[in-house]
Symmetry: C2
Subunit: 356 residues, 2 copies
């Protein structure tokens, strides 16, 4: 079991608990009895597999109210947030209540957002169950919803008290969701450590050492967040590698393209631009494509998606300044550089190379 | 002109600009040109009187988009927040945009809330126009909406960059709104300084030295907020004197009872309890009633309002812990004490004394 405590200057401190059996030792790390009421939010995919087992692990099962939302990106909306807020209000939860998110990125993001605005902020815990959430989205306190077809365009920075990463949850995860999550995992290898990428490629999804993989990704993300909580120093931008184009593709497909697929394609675009702007070698670019293929991720634009539409969408990205995007690109595998401006022509060319 | 800069540990620093003509020197204190887009939110009462004049004062009138919401407490809802968010998104505002609130408490609270969640937080400025907002609600970064009939139950702590308190706006304020605002002004006298209360009682609404009054209240509030931004030390609770019962009465009347009236009645209840629990003299209690009367504020419960319904509502207050309210009471005029537990019987008795 790995336990790490993070100190944040702008928020309260928080802890990260990683490893098989992390869920079982939860009551040692959080005093459930100190909360006047506890609500756990999850989705209709996760609930049948894990909800009752997780509630039992709190050792305070009588008084935990579950809220079950429909699974999928369509639930990442204001309506879901309002339904969670209404539930909290209906049990008379005060500022001394606790909200728990059990699920993937969507559950984590909407639940964290609800926690951040209910009574101007209550404590919450993230228990991620998908590979994306275990390695990325549950860590860092970015909460939010999609608003008028713009991904994550409304939300807050709001740190949980605790993030519990237990690889056990991967047992019931559908294979397509493992593939989806591998995009984020590969991302960590690309931006930070070629050796870690080597670890990935020497395994398949069936024999992957998940505990080690989750530890590497979650700890890296948590360290970055501790140094740049509000995304102002450019450090935190690093974990956004591949996400700017990825988000645009997701939104344009009306979220039919899953997050991991969007990020995979986004990383391919970034690799092309990296060759043009930072001299990433063709060999390494092909290696990136190969790794994505190895784990079943797409490396071409979805059929029918228009490059100009993607370019237009980029300007509305949350991180754009005056419509200009600062890109995270690769000097080489394992060495990412944030804050790069790229001429429009180069962006367009990189996208056009990926027409199927 | 009074300019004060406040340092906050949990958020960015902010400035308070107080005095006649404060609006005119605004461009010296904020660089409007640094923002890629500017949106100003106001209501349909304030807009005809002040909107164009205020926009002109920015010296960048061409590119400021106004959003006008219906006036009144009913606008303090998620729907209004969503309409502001949609407007920001429609002009393609990035994180480098600026949102300005021009109006009373409702406009300030919903606009601040929208600023705090749009793209996980953008800069905003408060330009309060009502007496309540100038002396109280525009300062301190408490944003929010009423949710399912619970006052301010959803929102954030989110500091503006700048609060501009110009007494000029009081010129067009209806008399009933001046009366309403006097409840907050009297509150500051009661909790902090008997001499300030003396200043108030030696004037009428027609010859009140507003600049001095606003300076006293706004500066006091800002100092408290600087020491206890997130309401965790009990200091900030002081400015909540009279508000717990006040909010309950407002909500039970479905916001037909204006905020200042609720606070006035709440202060009367708190004064009764103060006599019982902290030995506030009968003479001072009568003085409080006299001052409220002098400025046309109510000192009895609204007709038909039931004491038991108020008591039930108190348990759901945002600050209640396990259904228990910690009260702010007076030892004497000018000396408030936070965090007092009061037996249910005493609360009930104090409320029953105010049946009309």
């Amino acid at each position: 079991m790995i336990i790490r405590n993070y100190h944040l200057t702008q928020s309260h401190d928080w802890s990260l608990l990683i490893g098989k059996g992390a869920l079982g030792v939860l009551p040692r790390h959080i005093s459930f009895r100190d909360y006047s009421s506890i609500v756990i939010a999850t989705d209709d995919n996760v609930a049948p597999c894990w909800l009752s087992m997780v509630i039992k692990s709190f050792g305070k099962s009588g008084s935990v109210l579950p809220i079950i939302i429909p699974h999928g990106e369509r639930s990442k909306c204001m309506q879901t947030v309002e339904s969670i807020l209404a539930s909290l209000q209906s049990v008379g939860m005060g500022r001394d209540g606790l909200l728990i998110a059990l699920g993937g990125g969507v559950v984590g993001d909407v639940t964290g957002f609800a926690a951040s605005i209910y009574k101007r902020g209550i404590d919450y815990i993230q228990i991620p169950t998908s590979l994306i959430a275990l390695t990325d989205s549950a860590i860092g306190g970015k909460t939010g919803i999609d608003f008028v077809e713009s991904k994550n365009s409304v939300g807050t920075f709001y740190q949980p008290r605790l993030v519990v990463c237990d690889p056990m949850f991967l047992k019931t995860l559908p294979r397509r969701e493992l593939v989806n999550g591998m995009a984020e995992v590969i991302k960590y290898g690309l931006i930070t450590d070629e050796k870690f990428l080597g670890l990935l490629t020497s395994h398949t999804l069936d024999d992957m050492p998940w505990e080690r993989v989750i530890d590497f990704c979650a700890t890296y993300k948590a360290d970055i967040v501790a140094r740049d909580e509000r995304d102002t120093l450019g450090l935190r931008a690093l974990v956004n590698f591949g996400h700017t184009v990825g988000h645009a593709i997701e939104a344009l497909s009306r979220y039919r393209v899953p997050h991991g697929h969007g990020v995979a394609i986004g990383m391919m675009v970034a690799a092309r631009m990296s060759s043009q702007v930072l001299g990433l070698s063709e060999f390494e670019r092909e290696k990136i494509e190969f790794v994505l293929h190895q784990f079943g991720l797409p490396t071409r634009l979805p059929k029918g998606m228009n490059v100009n539409a993607i370019i237009q969408k980029l300007g509305t990205d949350k991180k754009a300044r005056a419509g200009k995007v600062k890109w995270v690109l690769l000097k080489k595998i394992g060495k990412a550089v944030p804050g790069i401006e790229v001429p429009g022509k180069v962006v367009k060319k990189a996208l056009e190379c990926l027409y199927d």
